[in-house]
Amino acid sequence: MSELQLVQILSPEGELLTDPEYPLEISTEEIRALYRDLVMVRRFDVEATALQRQGELGLWAQSLGQEAAQVGSGRALIPGDYAFPTYREHGVAWAKGVPPEKLLGMYRGINHGGWNPHDNDFHLYTLVIGSQTLHATGYAMGIQRDKSNNAVIAYFGDGATSQGDVNEAFTFASVYHAPVVFFCQNNQWAISQPIESQTKVALYKRAAGFGFPGVRVDGNDVLAVLAVTRVALARARAGEGPTLIEAFTYRMGAHTTSDDPSRYRLAQELEEWKLKDPIARVKSYLTRSGLANEDFFADIEKEAEAMASKLRGDIIDAEDPYVEAIFDHVYAEPHPILEAEKNAYINYLESFAEGDMK
């Protein structure tokens, strides 16, 4: 495969191709479901962005443009497969069934992670670049020891590949044959740094030097991502060790709502990527193959609007954390000193309430 080739099953124009290495058995219903996922995830992201602009969130990291990479890989997971996300994997969370409003908690500043990872086998968002790849590898080592038939998927960005931790994860996973899939969304940018400032060679090639396969997939092609991820997960479950998937995609939005990409990249680039939009191509495939009609699309739009408006309501109604939360849960076991610190602070606060303040 040449440097620029990537696994593709659905062309940007919506034509269905086949890749002999990655045969995909998929029903029309499944493709329609994937389309729905993509639309819902985008709508979710649009709403969250709006909520940030309106001051309801302190920050938001958009998944715009990366929906296919996230939904395709997320839908390849079977129950019990565990996902370790960065801070941007809203589409994977969706596929894993995490209630959407929960994803907003940390961005609103009410918690540092608002769901129980074991509920949906979806770990908390991790902000320290690359760290979670080691957690994923360790978790996979646990799966091995449990002799369970599951696998783990670790998400990270193109920038993250420069971190020592990610490369250490490659080594540990390789030498232990850990059942983990390394899923790198190469969205071409790490804040203002283009991919060239992290590597001179295609990222998927990194894997070979650590002794496991790497593959580059069209990250805007939900079918190709699904197919490639399924194969990698199957390998992992079969005890054949890790795979690195490089999903070639594009960060269509800013890095986060705090960022201003006009300072470092040309609008032209975005325009080009719009032609490869991950949703448009599925729609065009469904339409031109007569697998879906206007009603289908309209229904999904309606559903998406409903989800968005519920999300908005949920988050505006979200309760602020209680003060004691500062101290609770720092330790699992009793901790007399923090207990005392908490009580002292609560008493101090109450002294104001009682009008004791000078």
Partner: protein
Amino acid sequence: MITIGKAINMGLRRALTEDPKVLVMGEDVGKLGGVFRVTENLQSEFGEDRIIDTPLAESGILGTAIGLALRGYRPVCEIQFDGFVYPAFDQITSQLAKMHSRSLGTLKLPVVVRIPYGGGIGAVEHHSESNETYFAHTAGLRVVTCSNPNDAYWMIQQAIQSDDPVIFFEPKRRYWDKAEIDEAAPSLGLHETRTVQEGNDLTLISYGPTVRTAIEVAAVCAKEGRSVEVMDLRTLSPLDLAPVFESAQKTGRVVILHEAPTFLGLGAEIASQITEECFYSLDAPVLRVGGFNVPYPPARLEEHYLPDLDRTLDAIDRAFAF
């Protein structure tokens, strides 16, 4: 009137202009000018060879900075946020801090590590930490912080001129504080504590982002008839405590205010030294006001976490109650 952020930018520009060996490196420091714009426009002025956009790897940044220093350069590394310095911790503690002494003085490591630190900007996790203890406890490093634009402007230059590694903490929630700067000459050396305002009844010691709080506290106290001496440490390692001891001997009461958790925070060291040096002068134990001993909480709780005017006044009351 210049902001602290801009003052550092100006200080960097001047250092880059005066010494061709000075380099700036870090994530997004080039075109973007850093996430806080502290390095804004430097790359267009000094080029990509001197304002170096790095791969996303903090150990890599520090490790290559050390190599550049060995070759005679003076790199100024930007760590994007306080909580992201830890991947570089090994390079900082085992290499940067120790290489000069390992070489019996033959190698110089004039590396500056700029860290925007502290909370108060409503940020997500890892973006609000005050982790100065880790560095101040590490022999071989120098650790300083600024609280106003004039110090920001001069201290960054002095840090770059130092032949020792300097950890330069920037009070991020004060980046936008404005004041005049005097471009003619610095008023103090890098490792000197400043008496911000004199007072007789109690000494209030602080540094970085909480100096402004301390000044506000002193104003409230003044109205209550308590005369508070406010000191801005500026240098955390080495500490410059002679003026602090003098003040403590005068006032007999000391409160230390910082954002970092109190447990093994700088306040602990300072309190111990004051007690040892001024034992017979103290009318009350040295009291500490700091962050709680917990991970920095989510943004919607940070006003509770951050030691503020009221908590400091409360400590002052307690000091007077002894």
